[in-house]
Symmetry: C2
Subunit: 467 residues, 2 copies
Amino acid sequence: MDAAEFRVKAKEVVDFIADYMETIENRRVSPDVNPGYLINSVPKDAPEGPESFEDIMKDFKNIILPGILHHQHPLFNAYFPLGHSFASILGTMLSDGIGGISTSWAISPACTELEMVVTDWLGKLVSLPKQFLHEGGEGGGSIQGSGSECIFLALSAAKRHAQQNTAERAPRLVAYISCLANICVQKACSLGSVILRQIEVDENLSLSVEALKKSIMIDKSNGLDPFFVCATVGTTSCCSFDDVYELSEMCEKENLWLHVDAAYAGCALICPEFHYLINGKENISSISFNPHKWLLTTTECAVLWVKNKKSLNDCLAANATYLQHKHQAETTDFRNWGIGITRPFRALKLWFVLRLYGISGLQEFIRRHIKLAKRMKDHIESNHVFEIVGKSNLGLVAFCIKGPSKLTTTLLRNINESGNLHLTEASVNGRSVIRYVVCAEKAKEKDVDFAWSVISSAADGIFSARG
Amino acid sequence: MDAAEFRVKAKEVVDFIADYMETIENRRVSPDVNPGYLINSVPKDAPEGPESFEDIMKDFKNIILPGILHHQHPLFNAYFPLGHSFASILGTMLSDGIGGISTSWAISPACTELEMVVTDWLGKLVSLPKQFLHEGGEGGGSIQGSGSECIFLALSAAKRHAQQNTAERAPRLVAYISCLANICVQKACSLGSVILRQIEVDENLSLSVEALKKSIMIDKSNGLDPFFVCATVGTTSCCSFDDVYELSEMCEKENLWLHVDAAYAGCALICPEFHYLINGKENISSISFNPHKWLLTTTECAVLWVKNKKSLNDCLAANATYLQHKHQAETTDFRNWGIGITRPFRALKLWFVLRLYGISGLQEFIRRHIKLAKRMKDHIESNHVFEIVGKSNLGLVAFCIKGPSKLTTTLLRNINESGNLHLTEASVNGRSVIRYVVCAEKAKEKDVDFAWSVISSAADGIFSARG
């Protein structure tokens, strides 16, 4: 395909994307296909000769699209939002178009410096102390591919730090999270070969600091080495919040690395009324959240801020003759901040989002979503068969049917099988809950009301069937 | 920005990308800016209110572009190619536009199944045995963000496998590579907390199997646990090849995990004449290469194939109530194959590339690049002051000035400072070499000849200055 043909075809793709977004409500929200549906309908081998754009687009529409969950559908209320906006798409188009990378400052200084700029912009917006900013000197932010990567990197930096402090012997490291923390922390511990303790939660569904202290005490008395605590600000199951302040005091005293995983809820910190959620931030070691969740940025865009970049660089720095440059002492080489060496220019899409919306536009977006979630919460509380789980004060409402979990599970299955609305189930202290999350950028009150009508009539169906 | 405005602005971006590619030769290939050039020319904070697309594009052109290294410039001959094609850009636009993810099969079956299809297509094309294919059953391919990630995942799987075999005690694991292996293996070992041995190379600049055997013997006799060998097929410095056959025999005998890192050269395996480079493949455990290097696919697209997916899943599997689905026993959940859980739909761009070019188009591309590199090699060999390092039989030509390394280093600096041509330096057995790599998709003979004229007159300059 030459440039002339690209001009034509890429504009067709632009129109396809615009059409897709304008008519997304007409689609069934979730796919309805069986395993192998695609594998069995495409050739077993790559084509010998070139195929036409038209044939590929035809297959895209007829074979790919029926197997897609439409995360931007106004009745997609499952998982968490999958960041999306026209602003972000424009940024990706440009970064893919010019193909800059931020392996070292010298390769494409623009890629490195813009990443420093946007992570500082965002860091200030969410009230991070100066030590976490590039302009502060000792720390800074970096854009990683996933929240899981951020947590694994924080854990690796903490591990290196702990190993340096116990140079005499091989430490037996232990990490601590609440039982409601995201599964990616388990993954990070498995990859990092450290022991993981999942601590019970208190009545607020927050990590019980008392139970944590006890667990640390026992581990220490058994000769183990506590080194890392991951606080969750906004759990996946029910958006509960660990007490960062209390944990930060304790970690400071015990000399433990405290990471704050705010994958989803961290996006709400752009509104000052939520800054309290990370009180104690002066004493944390690192924090991450994903603009590709609730800040209108497409995958992959997860930001990790560390207070001391040395700890991160110590376990990730890698140099070679072909990467050396004369400014390396005074600049930032982001390959030393993550796993990948060929790092794409992800800062560009975040820059497009931050500028095209502006702070006010993004705050309006977050607050509107929270208001819509409140509307759903009010609906649910109006019906005595339901019970709200947790505080649900951001864009997620967790609820269940009073009584045995089986009722809630059946309710969810009936709702999702209709294909009219898509929700997900979680488990909180062994109890099934349904998660309703406001996701679509332009979600409206009528979408919430429709979702509620689907939920409440599905519940009626269950109770009338039971007589 | 609404859909109507997106239609207009995104088409402007399409035209910008086409213009950029059509006029790239008019640009200076490498940036000429100082540290802080961008940071000091943009605001210290995100804008309060929304800004216009026009203002952002103006900054993109005036502030970002001057700080970009133009990897698609015909006189960019440094590092390795940074994959790029209109086909791939169309794929990214669509995947960003619809936003599918492959966390579990159930979320968007199309994303999972297309990844299985394209990794099988590519696996067959490069002659991987059936065990490495999804249709084979026990193994399969997955698309990761970077080659570094592929190697870290292979190492982690190997580590888990080794730990399971030494359940009685904590093993002291040792990994082995050649001293010319990529720095990402060092990074993987650092993250995985395993000991790394860098083994000397033989006269072909291949990992010395004799030296390796000796090192393993010594480590074993000291109570250490050898577990992992990474063979490099196409070293970054000079594109030398480790002997996969000999290593595979040895690893089979010693029960070591053999990973083949073919980040760049693996792309050439789509041409049958290069299949010999991975002779012994039946006995390797895993292999990875990056279509985002030399197969016209934009970042991020690195493919990792494992012979036994269980070993990979054992250290990466993570489940939660909200991710469970009724088909999980019979389908593939790619979150268990890598670090990230929110995995973008990277298969789409590779599918576009494989179909729009077809096998014949991609083979023609690779062979044309190799022919151009041969042309440069012939030029260099025609001048007695130069010496070719290694065999340089793919798209990379490594060479140096006969005599002290300082001459080669000076030559490279003089060439790069002109901004007319961009090359990189490497170190091979302590000696400086210049790497010339054919990178641009549509590179021509005249580009090679021009590059040669720059190189040879820069060399003349050095020798005439020395008198």
